[in-house]
């Protein structure tokens, strides 16, 4: 039919591609024409290997009506360029195959596993058109040659380990995943077994590996931030205009943040990589530079210390946003092995995992179903879903932060507490002293106070509050709904004062003390309602969606309590029971924690009680957690920021 001719690829490129593990992707444009010579790719191989050759071919020009067949052939050659038999006849059956390439349905996959014959050093993969007429323009051809030999042998052989490591490193690590547990265990072992002087370097290496698992390309942005902060610090200490330099570096980093977050809004159709954690580490960059300008910290001359501060892996995804003065010295200090501290850290991390996997991911099913634009659900179920979302976002975010704090505690590093039972707040102002404490304190210190705070009169104070929360909204997301969410919180803060006065008037009229339990409960409920209402904007896909949810929620009918089938909202009866029980447990523990540490309480009990509590917690996490086959793992909510 046809003879084989080489492709446009050079032999050197092909050899380089085979040297890469495991994926080698080539984007190719060429034309296959019936009657002409087939296209070919070369690759170096070793006799005895078992390799899987797979790939995708996209031929957009092929019409649906033709029976479009592309045949691929695999041929082995020895050093003299002579063909070598695969040893399992007939050869066609072993090494050739056909697949149907219909251009109208997208790329077509082909795959073949072959045993490389002894004495082979080269593989040629050819594509041969078999259709009757017309041309086929091949838009993409990606080839993946994987050596399967590692899996033919026994476990724990050297090739087995390299294949295992390759699989493990091929994706990012979710903090609630087993991979993350394995990563932390290995890091802890290295951290405490190797000499203490190496501890910061182990942390740095671990953070680099962790970040690289998500994306290697994102290092351009993070590397630029680290370099800018390091050089900026140097220049600030040596220059007479430190504030100008500080401002320039901050603008540069804010520019990067704005470009990645808002780039697609202003340049629609483009695809811009959003580096993991850019919103969080940018704020850390700003806090370091401003603290440096204010003289609150000394300039850091060791670039690795700054790099570790910005890349420290428990923080990079969701914070808390730490100040250099608080975190920096801890990262570079030596930490002794302390079993009690590690135990406490693990307990905290498990509690975080419980909140995420048992409460947040379960609540998300109902919220997702009810809030969906096409659900058509109205009234009480929407209100129920709104309340559940408040619980979901708290359990999700605080869960992740607890996992981060727990892991850090195992390493001997204390991170600031980011939540203080925010739904027990008696005003929206109090709420922001308890919710995402690191962000609200950052906004206070680096936006609100520089704007003048409350020192320039009442009107200016209110304007500053609105500006701060507008910034907070924009930091969270690019949509109008986030901006309105931020403004709403600003308005709630402003109206807090009036609300407090009205409340005092009402309690006085009723002859009640404002600090009485009932009065406090009313204030807590009102604050919770305001915050829950605002969360609707946060959760919605966009502003019109938020308005439609609010309208649907307003359509409450009195009899809905009896009419609504609560188990039709996405969870069956048993899952709903578990969810409500878990929320009840969260409430009880939160109330308890207002007065005393639950961990200290349990740790002071007898051994059998401690063990029972711990084992019961782990078993309930294992049994009731939403994970594994059949569950779509839900990303941590704040990871998207």
């Amino acid at each position: 039919m046809s003879q084989l001719i080489p492709l446009a690829f050079s032999r050197k490129l092909a050899m380089h591609l085979v040297g890469m593990l495991p994926l080698c992707v080539m984007a190719v444009d060429f034309t296959l024409v019936e009657g002409e010579l087939p296209q070919m790719v070369e690759s170096e191989v070793e006799g005895g290997q078992v390799i899987t050759i797979s790939g995708d071919v996209y031929c957009p020009g092929l019409a649906k009506s033709l029976c479009n067949v592309v045949r691929f052939s695999v041929r082995f050659e020895n050093q003299e360029g002579l063909p070598v038999s695969s040893g399992v006849l007939p050869e066609d059956a072993n090494t050739n195959g056909v697949f149907y390439a219909n251009g109208n349905v997208g790329p077509c996959r082909f795959s073949k596993t072959v045993l490389v014959p002894d004495r082979s050093i080269r593989l040629e993969l050819g594509l041969i058109p078999l259709w009757k007429e017309g041309k086929c323009e091949v838009k993409e051809l990606s080839i993946d040659i994987q050596d399967q030999s590692a899996f033919l042998g026994d476990a724990f052989s050297p090739t087995w380990w390299s294949a295992r490591l390759r699989d493990w490193l091929s994706g990012g690590l979710d903090p609630s995943s087993l991979g993350f547990c394995g990563f932390v265990i290995i890091l802890l072992l290295l951290y405490f077994v190797l000499p203490a002087v190496l501890q910061p370097w182990i942390l740095l290496l671990g953070s680099v590996v962790f970040y690289s698992m998500f994306s290697v390309k994102a290092w351009c942005f993070l590397g630029a931030s680290i370099l800018s902060v390091y050089l900026g610090g140097w220049l600030m200490s040596a220059s007479r205009i430190p504030r100008v330099i500080c401002g320039s570096v901050i603008c540069m980093n804010l520019g990067l943040l704005a470009f990645t977050k808002y780039g697609t809004t202003f340049f629609p159709g483009t695809s811009i990589l959003i580096p993991l954690g850019i919103s969080f580490y940018t704020l850390q960059v700003i806090s370091y530079l401003v603290d440096l300008a204010r003289g609150e910290v000394q300039v850091e001359r060791n670039p690795f210390k700054l790099a570790l501060y910005l890349t420290y892996f428990p923080l990079i995804m969701q914070g808390p946003i730490s100040r250099y003065g608080q975190l920096g010295p801890q990262l570079w200090a030596r930490h002794d092995f302390d079993l009690d501290r590690i135990r406490d850290g693990i307990q905290l991390a498990l509690w975080g995992a419980f909140k995420k996997m048992v409460i947040a991911d379960r609540a998300a099913i109902i919220v997702g179903k009810v809030f969906a634009p096409e659900s058509g659900i109205e009234g009480l179920p929407v209100l129920f879903a709104a309340v559940l979302y408040s619980i979901q976002i708290y359990a999700d975010f605080s869960g992740c932060v607890d996992i981060s704090r727990g892991v850090s505690q195992c390493l001997g590093i204390d991170l600031i507490r980011n939540f203080n039972h925010p739904y027990f707040a008696e005003s929206v102002q109090d709420f922001w002293r308890r919710w995402h404490i690191s962000l609200s304190s950052w906004l206070r210190d680096y936006v609100y106070i520089p704007l003048g705070g409350n020192r320039r009169g009442m009107c200016r104070k209110y304007v500053n509050v609105l500006l701060v929360f507008a910034v907070s909204g924009l930091w969270h997301g690019t949509g109008m709904n986030f901006f309105v969410w931020g403004l709403l919180h600003g308005i709630f803060q402003i109206t807090d004062v009036a609300r407090a006065k009205i409340g005092m008037f009402v309690w006085k009229g009723l002859g009640m003390d404002a600090s009485a339990f009932l009065c406090r409960m009313c204030r807590i409920l009102v604050t919770f309602s305001e915050v829950t209402f605002a969360w609707i904007l946060f959760r919605a896909q966009d502003y019109p969606h938020a308005i439609s949810i609010i309208k649907r929620m307003m359509a409450i009918r009195p009899r809905q309590v009896l009419e609504t089938s609560w188990v039709s909202l996405g969870l069956d009866r048993m899952d709903l029971t578990v969810l409500l029980a878990a929320i009840g447990l969260l409430l009880v523990i939160s109330i308890f924690q207002e007065r005393k540490s639950v961990r200290c309480f349990i740790n002071n009990r007898q051994l059998c009680v401690r063990w029972f509590a711990s084992l019961a917690g782990i078993v309930s996490l294992v049994v009731f957690g939403m994970y594994g086959t059949g569950y779509r793992p839900l990303q941590f909510i704040y990871m998207q920021f």
Binding site: A93, N94, Q148, F151, L152, M574, V619
Partner: protein, 344 residues
């Protein structure tokens, strides 16, 4: 410090035990799992022959019937849609525990052996869940399961934890019972099929995949190293032409390796089943009790006359009890099918 370390170690042991118990309770105890777990209940070193393979193995080979007629002790050790990687691991285990004289390997899933790790979750779990922990289990997981699905295999509680909603009394019986059928499945149903035999003189050789060739070589070397003999067989099933072409290639390959091959879809095999009475379904064409006994008789003749396998009359008491139980189950199964037919 020492006390703390000891306490921590004790805690970790307690955690492991609790975790294993929870996993065991949550793991499904269906017929398939019981059948595979039954292999562990066989008296060590008591088996002369082990049959390994997919559902066609345990619907074709009847160990109790074989013992009753030929005094040969055997067991079927297999799972539904069992891939060849699992068969290799099962062969290893069978050789280690029983040192059988022969291994019979059933070939239905051989044509799917491509090395591309496309084993579906359910067959993978059936094969892996009951396999004891060790290097072989890890090799099995790594060779069979694609990267995204390995966590479920290492920690099968990830697959089964949602079963807490439907736990029954059976789930709390961890010890398990001895399988009186020794791994085979009795089906009383009778479903006619069209044909299953082919004239292999007129069929062209499709060849076999190189990956399969490597795996079969590994199994053969393993069996030989233990001083046993390997026989590959293709059970009678509702074969199509493509299956027959594959068997032709398989036959040629096995011949080149000196491995005996019994091809029950070959007209010239010497075994003739009744397509109207001996099959239990017309999809894959598994055999029912009647077909299974006929094939077992044939294999018994091969073992006695060709391989001169003789009994040493050990473990008679255990097998006598099994025969009694088996007899009851066989009659129950046949009666059940007859009743359902009459009800229709």
């Amino acid at each position: 410090m020492v006390i703390k370390i000891l306490r921590t170690t004790a805690y970790l042991l307690a955690l492991t035990v609790v975790f294993q118990c929870v996993t065991e309770v949550l793991r499904p105890k269906d017929q398939s799992q019981k059948r595979i777990a039954g292999f562990d209940k066989e008296v060590k070193g008591s088996l002369d022959v082990v049959c390994i393979g997919s559902s066609h193995a345990f619907c074709t080979w009847n160990p109790v019937h074989l013992y009753m007629r030929y005094d040969i002790r055997s067991c079927v050790y297999g799972s539904e849609s069992q891939p060849i990687e699992a068969s290799l691991a099962f062969v290893k285990r069978a050789l280690k525990l029983h040192h059988p004289k022969m291994i019979f390997l059933e070939s239905f899933m051989f044509s799917s052996a491509t090395g591309e790790k496309k084993t579906k979750t359910a067959p993978a779990h059936r094969a892996i869940d009951s396999y004891p922990w060790g290097k072989d289990r890890i090799s099995l997981i790594e060779s069979m399961v694609p990267p995204g699905g390995k966590a479920e295999m290492y920690f099968d509680v990830r697959q089964y934890h949602s079963r807490w909603k439907c736990l029954g009394k059976d789930d709390f019986s961890i010890c398990g019972e001895r399988d009186c059928c020794h791994g085979c499945q009795l089906i009383g149903k009778v479903v006619p099929i069209t044909q299953y035999l082919y004239n292999f003189d007129k069929i062209w050789d499709r060849g076999i995949n190189a990956y399969l060739a490597v795996r079969l070589d590994q199994i053969n070397q393993l069996v030989k190293a233990h001083g046993a003999e390997l026989v590959v067989f293709t059970a009678p099933f509702h074969a199509v032409m493509e299956n027959a072409r594959f068997c032709k290639g398989l036959s040629r390959f096995l011949k080149s390796r000196g491995i005996e091959y019994l091809n029950f879809i070959d007209e010239k095999s010497g075994l003739k089943l009744d397509v109207k009475k001996d099959f239990a379904d017309n999809k894959d064409g598994h055999l029912n009790i009647y077909g299974m006994e006929k094939v077992t008789d044939y294999i018994g003749d091969v073992l006695k006359n060709r391989h001169h396998l003789n009994s040493d009359r050990r473990y008679e008491d255990e097998w006598r009890d099994d025969i009694e139980q088996y007899g009851k189950m066989r009659n129950q199964e046949i009666a059940k099918w007859r009743q359902s037919e009459e009800a229709r």
